[in-house]
């Protein structure tokens, strides 16, 4: 097809502007944003939600998820919210989001019941798994991982986003879809106090410009991506999280002076199906969705599971119980290689297997498991987990895969079927993000954050619980203030910044892909596995030159392209936040996966702290915050949430 054959199918509204006013503004319509909007609407406030995609299927959980973690208050749970939240904090050496984890553990199950009331499926209502060891016959809830303590629930997550979307409409939330938020509006009063005033954005189909004025704003735009990993051909597969989420919430927050922490934490990449790994959950393994699949080696010899003391487990059932003397174990999204205290059953370590003569490749062999376990992994979990219903379950079934007859290959030496280089990094496993207080408020009044946009964020239950909580607190604040003034110069400047690439001639222009490639190469070179001041500074220098010399040459031919171009401008900002954060930490750290050749000492006591970073007058400013700044989790939570506990929390006998 040539250019003349296909015309842009949507209205051309570039240069048009609409002003929207609401009490509460939510940016991002994933799980956390939807729940923030619902909380505010339930309080009777007017709410606007801005989503780049279409809420029905957008975000990390757009097509589903299968595990609901830390449902500590469900009627079958053998653990308390305090126990699990504190375990996470200890497991992550205090580089953990204690506040958000506690909110998740304390309120998460309430949100799951909300989802059920909106029409989501959270229990085995069709009695497909009657009699299974993981199913509670009274509540029909189904559990994963630790069958003794029952605090991770298997859910039909593919029903959740459509249910949330219906609920937003029912509550009268004003929905702006296909609209990217691009910048925050802040205003300062005569005393110099800064507060949030709303945001600006652009429709990615028409190019229409929006000004959203609000009394409080909730950031729910997930976390950065494509900073080290970029593939101009298979861009949508570069990262684990959706293509749409590249950290624009971080970038606009940085520009507005918001504080961040742990941005120096990055891990060697684990997922990028554009190259070194496979479609998530699509290769043989025994983690997460596939826990605790039976694994065999190339000869078909079964690989033993062991408990934390190295005792070989004889039955499949034993893989789901704590070791003798252990109260509970932790497994899930961010739990990688847990401390002895929390370590659950696991297959024997790779090195030991090779020593004992096990042969590659390994396979997941579900045929050797009891039928209920096989059916729940292949058909329920693979089916409800994000990106599995069609990409894995249906595709593999169409190719003839039958889990009672076939075994699925695992690639490489680990279970991730991934093989990344040290400099190929990713924001994964509770990375850095927005710093906040007990109200999930940022350092700027009237601006709140939730879900994956928070530092050390985690999973779906975390997103739903913190979303609702942030929405609640943002509403309380909105009730006490009027709309803040906005500065028309800020608005005009943003408009110019947004549209500029449309005016660059294609022959002279640089595409977003070319810039993204250059950024990720720069970050691999200057901010890879091992860091040092001189390289980090060199990296900053190069990125600054991109900002000055390359950004003005970025070219876009339509609003879709413009959205991608804005994304890469934001990636450029995020990359600089990472460099500043890395420069600020003058030692190495295990929990932060942060290695320095010039400061090799690992986790010296004087550096065990948050180095909180923000931008002021174009310069990075830091302050230090103790790792246990959140105090006693239960006490501090109860101090601030009596009304919720009385009126909204679900209480069980």
């Amino acid at each position: 097809m040539n250019r003349s054959e296909y015309k842009w199918p949507y209205a051309n509204e570039s240069g048009m502007e609409e002003m929207v006013q609401s009490d509460v503004l939510v940016l991002g319509g994933g799980l956390s944003g939807c729940f923030a909007a619902i909380a505010a609407a339930r309080k009777g406030l007017s709410v606007a939600i801005v989503e780049k995609g279409a809420i029905e299927k957008s975000g990390s959980a757009g097509t589903g998820f299968d595990h609901w973690e830390s449902a500590c208050t469900n009627p079958c749970s053998g653990v308390t919210a305090k126990e699990i939240a504190e375990a996470y904090v200890r497991e992550q050496d205090w580089y953990s989001n204690g506040i958000a984890h506690y909110i998740e553990c304390r309120e998460g199950y309430d949100r799951l019941l909300d989802l059920e009331s909106f029409g989501g499926k959270v229990r085995d209502t069709e009695d497909e798994f009657v009699g299974a060891e993981f199913r509670d016959e009274n509540t029909k809830l189904m559990f994963a991982y630790d069958y003794k303590n029952k605090f991770t629930i298997r859910v039909w997550g593919s029903t959740f986003k459509p249910a949330l979307y219906r609920e937003l409409k029912k509550l009268g939330v004003k929905i702006y879809e296909r609209t990217e938020a691009t910048g925050l509006l802040v205003s300062s009063d005569s005393g110099g106090t800064v507060r949030g005033a709303g945001a600006m954005g652009m429709n990615v189909r028409t190019g229409k410009f929006y000004v959203f004025r609000a009394k409080s704003t909730v950031l729910a735009m997930s976390r950065p991506a494509r900073v080290w990993l970029f593939d101009p051909d298979l861009t949508g597969l570069c990262e684990f999280r959706p293509m749409q989420s590249i950290g624009s919430g971080h970038a606009m927050g940085w520009r507005a002076g918001l504080e961040f922490t742990m941005m120096e934490k990055t891990v060697r990449a684990e997922f990028s199906a554009a190259g070194r790994s496979f479609p998530p959950y699509g290769a043989g393994n025994n983690h997460n969705t596939w826990y605790a699949a039976t694994m065999v080696d190339a000869r078909g010899v079964e690989i033993p599971y062991v408990d934390r003391d190295g005792r070989e487990l004889k039955t499949v059932s034993e893989r789901y119980y704590p070791a003798p003397g252990q109260k509970f174990f932790l497994k899930g999204g961010v739990i990688d290689n847990p401390k002895y205290e929390y370590r659950g059953p696991e297959t024997l370590e790779f090195d030991e297997l090779i020593k004992r003569g096990y042969q590659l490749p390994f396979y997941a062999d579900l045929s050797r498991m009891p039928e209920s376990e096989r059916k729940v992994i292949w058909g329920m979990m693979i089916g409800e987990e994000a990106k599995t219903k069609i990409p894995i379950y249906q595709n593999y079934t169409d190719r003839g895969f039958d889990p009672s007859k076939h075994m699925l290959q695992s690639y490489g030496t680990g279970w991730q079927s991934a093989n990344f280089l040290e400099q190929e990094r990713q924001f994964f496993g509770a990375p850095g993000g927005v710093m906040h207080d007990w109200d999930l408020k940022t350092n700027v009044d009237g601006i709140y954050a939730c879900g994956d946009q928070l530092y050390a964020s985690d999973c779906a239950g975390f997103a739903c619980a913190t979303g609702y909580y942030a929405g609640r607190k943002a509403s309380d604040y909105a009730k006490t203030v009027g709309l803040a003034e906005i500065n028309s110069q800020d608005v005009q400047a943003e408009k110019e910044r947004l549209y500029a690439p449309l005016y660059v001639r294609s022959e002279e222009g640089i595409t977003w892909k070319e810039l993204n490639s250059a950024i990720s190469k720069a970050m691999q070179n200057y901010c890879g596995g091992v860091k040092c001041d001189s390289l980090l500074l060199e990296g900053l220098d190069l990125l600054k030159s991109f900002e000055k010399d390359i950004v003005p040459s970025l070219y876009a031919e339509n609003p879709h392209d413009l959205m991608r171009t804005h994304e890469v401008m934001d990636i450029l900002t995020v990359a600089q936040i990472v460099l500043h954060a890395s420069l600020a930490r003058k030692s190495s750290s295990q929990p932060l996966c942060f290695m320095r050749s010039d400061y090799p000492e690992i986790d010296p006591a004087c550096d065990r702290k948050h180095i909180v970073l923000r931008q002021e007058d174009g310069k990075p400013v830091t302050r230090e915050v103790p790792l246990d700044f959140f105090g006693d989790l239960e006490e501090e939570y109860e101090k601030r949430n009596q009304r919720y506990i009385r009126e909204e929390a679900v209480h069980h006998e």
């Binding site: 029905e56 861009t235 249906q394 076939h406 699925l408 000055k548 609003p559």
Partner: protein, 101 residues
């Protein structure tokens, strides 16, 4: 940034958007026109917005930006006519399975 160009809203309004399918090494989405009724539900939900409605009523959408596909399957999930739209992994991502031993 000082070097941004000034946007005159009248000038902006006269800008013409252009678009044409961007080549990629893969074809993630395959339509079957025999089964597709051209309802555009798939284009409506794609969070990456890579599917564009056809100009002709009743015809399947166009995969405008195949390289931006996240391979989530949302488009297939909402399609009212099974088989009208298929998701296909890049060849390198097709994991192998064999009969159990």
């Amino acid at each position: 940034m000082s070097n941004q160009k000034k946007v005159d809203s009248k000038e902006a309004f006269n800008l013409e958007y252009t678009v044409s399918p961007v080549a990629s090494s893969v074809n993630p989405i395959i339509y079957n026109q025999e089964l597709c009724i051209g309802c555009n539900r798939c284009a409506q939900v794609c969070q990456c917005d890579i599917l564009f409605p056809s100009k002709e009523k009743g015809r399947h959408p166009i995969v405008m930006y195949p390289g931006e596909c996240y391979y989530c399957g949302a488009c297939v999930m909402v399609c009212p006519n099974p088989g009208a739209i298929t998701l296909k992994h890049p060849l390198m991502n097709r994991a192998k399975f064999v009969p159990v031993k």
